[in-house]
């Protein structure tokens, strides 16, 4: 079955604070969505990410390894979490994507995996 990456995007300076009512509501919604993914068999893998500031970019050029502090893309928006799901087709994947967006109350990018 085709597989898709559903990635969640927010501002680069976003710091998760789970004590706020908004965050608690979103956590509950995402939990319910995850349960749906499990019971429908669409679930493959998912995870929330630490803030983009915690990232390190590692490059290997001719055996030389170099490291840069911070995320790869210098953009205002960064990926904050993701699901990898399986769905029969594009419309099914987009439907799961829109449920994901509603659950976490943020834009979600739906992108097919190769193969």
């Amino acid at each position: 079955m085709p597989q898709y990456l559903l990635s969640v995007w927010h501002d680069e300076d976003y710091e998760p604070d789970f004590s706020t009512p908004d965050a608690q509501r979103q956590v509950a919604q995402v939990g319910a969505f995850n349960d749906q993914l499990h019971s429908s068999g669409a679930w493959l893998f998912a995870g929330g990410l630490q803030p983009a500031s915690s990232a390190t970019v590692v490059r290997s050029t001719g055996g030389e390894v170099s490291m840069t502090d911070g995320p790869y893309a210098e953009t205002k928006e960064q990926m904050g979490g993701f699901w990898v799901i399986q769905a029969p087709d594009m419309d099914a994947a987009l439907q799961l994507g829109s449920r994901a967006a509603a659950a976490c109350e943020r834009p979600v990018e739906v992108r097919p995996l190769q193969g």
Binding site: P2, P88, D89, M90, D91, A93, L94, P112
Partner: protein
């Protein structure tokens, strides 16, 4: 002979491509197969005559050619997969539509055309990609023709079409008619793309860009197919009616010098009566269903104009009422602008200007043109001149520019 072959191609290309995509499970393979079948037709038909059901002939020939090709190239696994699909589909390769149940064949083909419309206008594609794919696959237009019509380089258009097809392919898009729950949104996307094709051709009516008026003809043709395929969708009928009623005015939109003429100044004897009649019948038929939507309401407004023997006799109260209804379901500033213009005719320019004051469309040329006209009629000449200047700055269409400059000169002269 060449003419009728061209006519058959225009009529059948989209239908045949639609069916071949289902049979082959691949857009590119389907396009190649249909093109090949038309090449064979170009050789055979002038000698043997056009077959009784040219569409079925093209479809059968394209399918047989595709099977041959797939067998030859079956070493490539993806093509082998397509070849397998071809045989396992509900339409058997040996099925000959010319002798078998033609009615069933026609039903399947109709569904294929709808599938293709919904695929081309998938909301995951950008509007310009939807339009390009629709014209390429359903309209059977060459990429170069579409590029000319949209005034972009052919390579740009080719890339747009390739990317859109690739996106559908990579995302595993399914070739199907949307389910009832999805239908309103999906149909709105199809209607929007067809109307975009229409307006693209309509805005450019200057007599200098004839290729663009072909877009309007093509949009009407596709709109007609959609209205026939979805007889229970009043908005599909409303869109067709709107395009026909707008198209009816085309002969009067440009004067003998090629300059644009406003609706209220048009010579109504030039309007195409047959299109008005057809548009009217459609408006009446869809309004009877009492499920008003934006296209039906816009068509109803166009019908009121078409009904009126002169600009002075226009039933502006009816038009304002229809704009109120339209604004209730589509509260956007362009509707508010058009409503303000109608109010200006119904209750005078001062009231029209009041209505316009609540519209926020500073970067939009028609806003300033409408404001200029209302100001001129209210006797506020200096402000009207400034508004025309702003409108002229914002237009990129040469016919529109000439029209606005002439309007500005007229009021400047009347000032002297």
């Amino acid at each position: 002979m060449t003419d009728s072959l061209e006519a058959v191609f225009r009529r059948e290309a989209g239908r045949c491509t639609a069916t071949l995509i289902r049979l082959l499970g691949d857009i590119d393979l389907a396009e190649e197969a249909v093109a090949e079948a038309f090449t064979i037709a170009t050789e055979q038909w002038p000698v043997r005559g056009i077959p009784p059901n040219p569409g079925a002939w093209i479809t059968t020939t394209a399918r047989n050619r595709a099977i041959d090709r797939l067998r030859r190239e079956a070493t490539r696994t993806d093509r082998h997969h397509a070849a397998h699909r071809l045989h396992s589909d509900d339409m058997e390769p040996d099925h000959n539509p010319e002798v078998a149940d033609l009615d069933a064949f026609v039903d399947v083909v109709a569904d294929d055309q709808l599938r293709l419309m919904f695929l081309c206008c998938h909301p995951a594609l950008a509007a310009d990609s939807q339009v390009a794919l629709t014209l390429r696959l359903l309209g059977g237009l060459e990429t170069a023709e579409i590029a000319r019509a949209f005034l972009v380089p052919e390579t740009t258009m080719a890339q747009r079409i390739v990317r859109a097809k690739r996106k559908l392919h990579d995302n595993h898009a399914t070739y199907r008619i949307p389910r009832a729950a999805e239908l309103p949104d999906r149909l709105a996307a199809v209607l929007g793309a067809i109307y975009l094709i229409y307006t693209e051709g309509h805005t450019a009516t200057t007599g200098r860009s004839l290729t663009r008026t072909d877009l309007s003809t093509e949009a009407i043709r596709i709109g007609r197919v959609l209205a026939t395929l979805m007889p229970d969708e009043p908005e599909a009928m409303g869109l067709l009616a709107l395009m026909l009623l707008t198209e009816a005015r085309r002969p009067a939109r440009v004067d003998s010098l090629g300059l644009m003429v406003r609706l209220t100044d048009q010579d109504r004897s030039l309007w195409t009566r047959a299109l008005i009649q057809e548009g009217h019948d459609l408006v009446r038929a869809c309004l009877r269903r009492n499920q008003p939507g934006p296209f039906q309401l816009q068509a109803a407004i166009a019908a009121v104009h078409a009904d009126s023997p002169s600009a002075e006799a226009t039933d502006w109260s009816q038009i304002v009422a229809l704009y109120d209804q339209l604004y209730a379901i589509r509260p956007n500033p362009v509707v508010a602008l058009n409503r303000a213009v109608a109010v200006g005719f119904l209750e005078g320019p001062a009231v029209g200007l009041d209505a316009l004051a609540r519209v926020d469309l500073d970067g939009y040329q028609p806003y300033h043109a409408a404001q200029a006209d209302l100001l001129a009629r209210a006797g506020r000449t200096d402000e009207a001149l400034a508004a025309y200047t702003r409108a002229i700055e914002l237009t990129s269409n040469p016919a529109e520019r000439e029209f606005l400059e002439r309007q500005r000169e007229n009021i400047a002269d009347s000032e002297l």
